[in-house]
Amino acid sequence: MTETKRPREPFAPWDRRALPGLFDVDETAKRVGHYKWVELKLFEALGGWVATVPELDVKMRLGTHCYHHAWHADLFDKRLPELREMKTDRLTLPANDHMVAFIDAMTEPEEAAMTIEKLVGVYRVLIPHKIAAYTYHRNATSEITDMPTVRILDFILQDEFNDWREGEMLIQSMIETEEELDRAMIHQTKLEKLMLAAGGIAGPGSIGDPYVEIPEEN
């Protein structure tokens, strides 16, 4: 036995992490697979758009952000085998068909004159929904049993917040007329409707359910 001043608790007084979390291993793997699918689709689109965007600063930002989301896809891909899914492609799936429709609509703009639509889809719709879903997951999962996912999400969220801010500033700087503002809003509404139908990037329950179930009275 080693001599110590006094015995200590296994958890320091300031360490309030709790064992239970909302997701079991299978549910976590399923969600991580959906996140990976979204990151994959996003980095592919950002890379593809670089050649189609004439604004030099936007072109270079898209190239930078393309890598951020590729790295996120890689982090999620590496997490899947740790969640008992050795064939990672099996879970690299969209949450549902509505999510596929969302990505199809988001990646549709190609013309050089449609930079606003491209940016709005990513920075005003998809990334805010990713931040919401990742934050929910990060806060709802067990910080002890699932700390590797929490750590990954913390890194990723840092990127997401930075990219969101940069993208939003690019959009604000590009909207100079009411007509451009209308274009942005119309496209955002169209995509938000698709995301609403999808229920979020991981499907219904992407950010949990805050409503209270009230039993019907007889």
């Binding site: 950002l46 890379g47 593809g48 189609t52 004439p54 072109k59 930002r61 898209l62 190239g63």
Partner: protein, 266 residues
């Protein structure tokens, strides 16, 4: 957004001027750095040359537009091919990483061009580099872009780094050295993927190496890149070896350059 985006539609603002390679090489201001070959003008790029600084300015502008196209090409490789069906995920991750690197190179080279007193659009752009990035076979695309063109970038950046050293310009030397490190990484990516994806496919390997030669020849510009003392761009053996080139392959590029010089002078 469609797959395979044509070079003629590359999006640019009004400052950029698109020309054919022949037109661009006919620009007397900086032509002999990046092309052409006549006895009186071919010389290693040094600050002491009467038109050395102007050549370096023209070359830096060429590097900048080349970096934009390299960024666009790597980005398209992320989009044009499907994971699993066409390419492994890891290849796309490499291309996304290259996007970030090329975006930084755009930032570096446009800042350096300004540092050297050059305005954006002062020299014309051709789309040769991006055209190599339109090959529908990902192996050929990576071989043409990452081994041939990024290999050329190794030579160009090393030459510019030496130019910065000779000119007493630490900013230029510092930045070129950093970009050189990235280029070695990109060429190595090309070498590694060529080996991995053609491991059991000799025919595809041969086709890819042939495509690399075509691109190398296209960018030989009458032998401006070589090992002769007066080669404007010096072939850089050491860094190419680090990036996965064999001695035979480097010899072949040097020979190609010599042949191009002889052909041009005759």
């Amino acid at each position: 957004m469609r797959k395979i985006f044509p070079a003629e539609e590359l999006a640019r603002d009004g400052r950029f001027i698109r020309q054919t390679n022949e037109q661009r090489m006919g620009d007397p201001r900086g032509a002999r750095i990046a092309g052409g070959n006549s006895g009186d003008r071919l010389a290693k790029l040094t600050p002491e040359l009467a038109n050395g600084p102007d050549r370096a300015r023209a070359l830096m502008h060429g590097i900048f537009v080349g970096e934009i196209q390299a960024l666009e090409g790597a980005g398209r490789t992320c989009w044009d091919f499907e994971v699993g069906e066409d390419v492994p995920l890891e290849l796309k991750l490499d291309m996304a990483r290259q996007c970030w690197d090329e975006a930084r190179h755009c930032e570096i080279s446009v800042a350096l061009a300004e540092h050297m007193g050059t305005e954006l659009g002062e020299y014309a752009e051709n789309a040769l580099l991006y055209e190599a990035a339109c090959n529908p076979d990902p192996v050929l695309r990576l071989t043409g872009v990452n081994r041939a063109l990024e290999g050329l970038a190794i030579d160009v950046f090393n030459t510019m780094k030496e130019f910065g050293n000779m000119a007493g310009d630490p900013v230029l030397e510092f930045c070129e050295d950093w970009m050189l490190a990235d280029e070695v990484t990109h060429v190595k990516m090309g070498s590694d993927w060529l080996r991995r994806l053609t491991e059991n496919d000799k025919e595809r390997l041969d086709k890819a190496l042939e495509f690399q030669k075509v691109v190398d020849r296209l960018f030989s510009f009458n032998g401006f890149r070589g090992e002769e003392d007066d080669s404007p761009i010096q072939l850089t053996r050491r860094f190419r070896e680090l990036a996965g080139f064999s001695d035979d392959e480097i010899d072949e590029i040097a020979d190609m350059s010599r042949e191009a010089r002889v052909e041009a002078s005759s």
